[in-house]
């Protein structure tokens, strides 16, 4: 009984908090991806690389120019959004709708370009979380049960979920958001009824990249990263997206919680590398049970 209590206090508490933090980061990572896939039927495999790019720019500006990470996030966001739009304009647009095969090959090629460009420019070394200083000057609170929650963890949770509320408002209450939802439900119908699909595609890529940028800065503040981190972040975002149902914001919220906790528990009890394995297992299971089968719909 006493051992149980000690276990609960020492392990479960931090795991619960970290699960929530991780979920919040996944949520930000996956919404950008699911927004793009849900509307334009494009999976941006470079999404994780955009996140890492944002982390690196934030890192660069905070160390070289002594900026607060939240201030550094603004130029980082600008760069990432530019790259995101460039991916769409020069990568996808020339081949959009012509062949799925080309699109899939293109996206992996783009990811490869960005990853190696980052490895060249930022060097292929790990940047630990302490290299980006805390935007709120560090510190934290001790929750009941002796669990430490730093302000950085708290701000990650808050930023992520508040952004979700704003995004939800945008998608469900504004004209542009409604047009985007129309596009996701019926691309042909939307374009017939006067939605400017071309312009909206840019908006979608801009918003998706902006979300990636925010995710990147928060990720860099909390975790260790290096130029080749993109793959695993993209993979996590896939798993959350597929589990939550493509294009669904509420689904993504629930899925990110499931995934955040699953990854934390798996890496704690089975070993670090199992966090990645568990996200793959979840992805594979979902695809196995509810595949977007070829003889259904479409």
């Amino acid at each position: 009984m006493k051992i149980m209590a000690v276990f609960l206090l020492q392990h479960l508490g931090p795991l619960l908090i970290w699960g929530l933090v991780t979920s919040s980061v996944y949520l930000l990572m996956a919404t950008g991806l699911t927004l793009i896939f849900g509307t334009l039927r494009l999976v941006n495999f470079a999404h994780g690389d955009l996140i890492v790019l944002s982390a690196f720019i934030t890192f660069l500006l905070t160390t070289n120019m002594n900026l607060n990470p939240f201030i550094a996030l603004i130029p980082a966001m600008f760069v990432v959004m530019t790259v995101g739009v460039a991916i769409y304009r020069f990568g996808f647009k020339p081949i959009y709708g012509i062949s799925k095969v080309s699109e899939i090959l293109m996206t992996i090629g783009i990811s490869y370009i960005i990853e190696n460009a980052m490895a060249y420019y930022f060097l292929p070394v790990y940047r630990t979380s302490v290299e980006i200083p805390s935007p709120v000057g560090g510190g934290g609170v001790v929750l009941p049960g002796n669990v430490l929650m730093t302000y950085d963890m708290l701000e990650t949770i808050v930023v992520s979920w508040v952004l979700m509320i704003i995004l939800y408002y945008w998608l469900y209450r504004t004209g542009q958001g409604i047009a985007i939802r129309a596009l996701s439900q019926n691309p042909v119908g939307a374009s017939i009824s006067g939605v400017d699909v071309g312009r909206l595609s840019y908006v979608i890529f801009l918003v998706g990249s902006a979300l990636a940028a925010v995710a990147g800065a928060l990720y860099g503040i909390l975790y260790t990263f290096w130029p080749y981190n993109g793959i695993i972040l993209t993979l996590m975002a896939f798993s959350v997206m597929i589990l939550g149902g493509v294009g669904s914001i509420p689904g993504t919220m629930i899925a990110s919680l499931v995934m955040g906790y699953a990854v934390n528990f798996a890496s704690y009890y089975l070993g670090g590398c199992w966090g990645e394995a568990i996200s793959f297992i979840i992805l594979a299971l979902v695809l196995l049970v509810r595949p977007s089968g070829i003889f259904r719909g479409g």
């Binding site: 999976v43 495999f45 095969v101 783009i110 490869y112 490895a119 981190n229 992805l283 595949p291 977007s292």
Partner: protein, 302 residues
């Protein structure tokens, strides 16, 4: 044929010979990838099979003491089994979902290879050195050329069989293929199994004849390169035709080696990514498609 290869290998020296061996290995790997791609499934995780082949070869020969030549052919059976399993899931999925699923395979494979649980066999993050073929023997280039030729014959035979017609139909229009009586799911699983075996064979050859070391990066993680070489060679060379793949491998593989050793570093790799993107947009037929068009235009002018 064999005699010519031996003569050439004597003339061009060891370094060139090693590069020629990697051409054979990556030709097999790229053909294996193309088999699946030509069935309409773009795999972004073939390094899983490649790495499984190398690990299986290493573990069989080092830990279980199976002789090297046997291990070279038995080891890839693990790749075939993995291929069947992957095909079982991928066969039910469509385009992007196949891409995402296969993309996820390689971090998962990597995670397993470095896990504490499997470390006694895999050597964890460090990897291990398996028994390798002696470099002083000049037989390995002709041997690998023979295997490459055998792979080509396998692909050729498949393409001209009932199965080849079925695969081609599936690639074109899966629903129509099913409604003319093709068991699309079964064929997709089988082709993944064959491709898994051949990719794993390439992986086993790679460690036994070239790298002499097995490391978890063969899973194409964290650097995706091992996943992407067959894609680069097949697509830039000209997917769909064994000739195009051969062209791509012969031209690009030495460049890859050069990029790794001489120019060095990620910037050279960026070039490969850019080249892929340009080919996809400008000449989807790849170099081979371009060559064919050129000769057709020329013959029409006469």
């Amino acid at each position: 044929m064999t005699i010519a290869v031996i003569l050439v290998s004597m003339m061009i020296g060891k370094y060139a010979e090693m590069i020629a061996i990697t051409i054979m290995i990556f030709y097999i790997y790229s053909l294996a990838w193309s088999l699946v791609a030509n069935t309409g499934m773009i795999s972004l995780g073939h390094a899983l099979f490649f790495a499984l082949g190398s690990y299986a070869y290493g573990i069989f020969s080092l830990i279980y003491g199976i002789n090297m030549i046997s291990a070279l052919f038995i080891g890839p059976i693990i790749g075939a089994l993995a291929g069947l399993a992957v095909g079982f899931i991928a066969g039910r999925l469509r385009d992007w979902y196949i891409g995402m699923f296969t993309f996820a395979l390689t971090p998962a494979g990597y995670a397993l290879a470095v896990s504490d649980q499997l470390k006694p066999w895999t050597g964890g993050a460090v990897g291990f050195a398996p028994p390798a073929f002696s470099l002083s023997m000049s037989i390995w280039l002709p041997f690998s050329a023979l295997l490459a030729f055998a792979t080509y014959m396998i692909v050729f035979t498949i393409q001209n069989s009932r199965m080849g017609f079925a695969l081609s139909a599936i690639n074109d229009d899966e629903v129509a293929a099913a409604t003319i009586g093709i068991n699309t799911r079964l064929y997709k699983i089988i082709i993944f199994g064959i491709s898994g075996y051949l990719s794993a064979l390439a992986g086993a050859m790679f460690v036994s004849m070239y790298s002499r070391y097995i490391s978890p990066e063969f899973f194409g993680y964290p650097d995706v390169s091992y996943n992407l070489w067959p894609i680069f060679y097949s697509i830039i060379g000209g997917m769909g035709t064994p000739e195009g793949v051969l062209l791509g491998t012969i031209i690009l593989d030495p460049l890859t080696e050069l990029a790794r050793t001489v120019i060095g570093g990620p910037l050279a790799l960026v070039t490969f990514g850019v080249l892929l993107a340009v080919v996809i947009i400008k000449t989807p037929g790849g170099i081979y498609g371009y060559v064919i068009k050129y000769f057709e235009a020329k013959s029409q002018m006469r």
